[in-house]
Subunit: 254 residues, 2 copies
């Protein structure tokens, strides 16, 4: 059984997708077979690896169909040992589609558990919300990782986030653990970055990762070339940060 | 009847809230009375002006109650002529609460129309989603403004965004117009900023605002001091940009 990690934060634009892509790629550098699942209807993770095609089998099928051939949902990427289970815009209607279904919060659990036998890690990218798509990811995860950036409102939503984790633990997934919080898009020249880092340390203590991901323009550029940071700019600061971050994650889960 | 503008983009972290706050404040500099409505459950706009209090009357009441005393929902701010209709975390449950209600997409329309008699402008801040909260804002708006930042995926969601605008126009609000798109967090030193600006110009043509909002650390700092940019750093680049942006908006709506 592979380890399942959800990357989440209801605040938008805080590096969830950038971390999902580069943590997943980083884990393959240490001999892991990784499945990256894109549960965000925006499909930013998906469009980084595959051409946009809203008709192919996607994560939407995890919610809409009972029995599916799971192997038809996983696609190889240019990076060996990294596979992707793509998003579709249809995911945007899942919340309304399942609003009367009592099993809605754990709709994808059995399917993902079956898939976890084939991978060392399953990583979920999620939309900027604590709605049904994110709840489903949390309900089947071993760990949840919060990405945080230096924003004036960076820590406003932490309480809601932690309340949601507690609720999922209590009702659906008692074994869910907080893997930690990682500060991304860190700019050591600005006071706001330092203030947010200090405040996050206060809230998360040892759960705050030692590795911070610096602001690095290579990380912004690489998805446009349909590449993770290790393929696009292997000697960049971004690649260095995400490699040491992957190592720190491995230390925490072993 | 005041003019109603929704600021929207389902992509997270693209300056919707920063623009909602500073455009609203900017409009008051030109003798306008402005109501800023926060429809994002995260409440970043709200926490910039008011202390967090999820029990006070809020935008949630626009959805949950038939008859309300609208004046009980609008609060003054430190800036004269700028009022706020605050968010509440309860907004997060609106989509599920109204999922079986056929009037859900126009739930707030009549109330907002009544309020628009008292203000020159009503500005909506919305969550990073094209769900029911954003649809409600669009259903009662004269204009929609899209904020765009230099992100690898900045323009991925534009088609979905424009499709949603068309759908709202067709079914709920034929007079809805696209006010335009504005590039924010612009960093003229990076190639990705220039590439995104050029691509946005290609898509939006004259609808792309001439004013771009540069990356400016003062804009990141000001909400932490519970101030808009004009109160916090009146001679900063951010204040200059948002002042000229407010002027450009006024030119387009007159
Ligand atoms: N370390 C970094 N250095 C520079 N830019 C970064 C870094 N990490 C992320 N970015 C950029 O910041 C923006 C937000 O990142 P990203 O899209 O990964 O966040 P997100 O949380 O997934 O957003 P959403 O809430 O829309 O899903 C993107 O433009 C991305 O390219
Ligand atoms: N011009 C700017 N210069 C520097 N930082 C900026 C600028 N505009 C916004 N920011 C910062 O970028 C981040 C995202 O902006 P903001 O929160 O306004 O976006 P949003 O679209 O409202 O996000 P969400 O999708 O979570 O609602 C915040 O940390 C904000 O302080
Ligand atoms: Mg994302
Ligand atoms: Mg916002």
């Amino acid at each position: 059984m592979g380890k399942i990690i959800t990357i989440a934060n209801q605040k938008g634009g805080v590096g969830k997708t950038t971390t999902a892509i580069n943590l997943s790629a980083g884990l393959t550098l240490f001999e892991n077979r990784v499945l990256l699942v894109d549960l965000d209807p925006q499909g930013n993770t998906t469009s980084t690896f595959l051409d946009v095609d809203d008709e192919r089998p996607s994560a939407f099928e995890l919610f809409s169909k009972e029995d599916i051939d799971l192997s038809s949902l996983t696609y190889p990427t240019d990076r060996e040992a990294l596979y992707i289970l793509p998003s579709s815009i249809k995911l945007a209607k899942v919340e309304r589609m399942l609003s009367q279904n009592p099993e809605a919060p754990i709709r994808i659990r059995d399917k993902i558990e079956k898939l976890s036998d084939e991978f060392d890690f399953i990583i979920f990218d999620t939309p900027p919300s604590l709605g049904l798509l994110t709840i489903n990811a949390l309900s089947v995860s071993d760990y949840v990782l919060m990405t945080i950036t230096a924003s004036p409102w960076a820590l406003d939503g932490v309480q809601d986030f932690l309340d949601t984790i507690d609720a999922v633990k209590e009702v659906f997934n008692p074994s869910l653990k907080i893997l930690g919080a990682v500060v991304t898009i860190f700019d050591s020249r600005t006071k706001i970055s330092k203030d947010v880092y200090d405040a996050a340390k206060e809230i998360f203590g040892n759960l705050l990762f030692n590795t911070t991901i610096s602001r690095n323009v290579r990380l912004e550029e690489s998805p446009a070339y349909k590449k993770d940071i290790f393929s696009y700019a292997p000697s960049s600061r971004g690649a260095f940060n995400y490699r040491s971050f992957a190592k720190e994650v491995l230390d925490r889960v072993s």
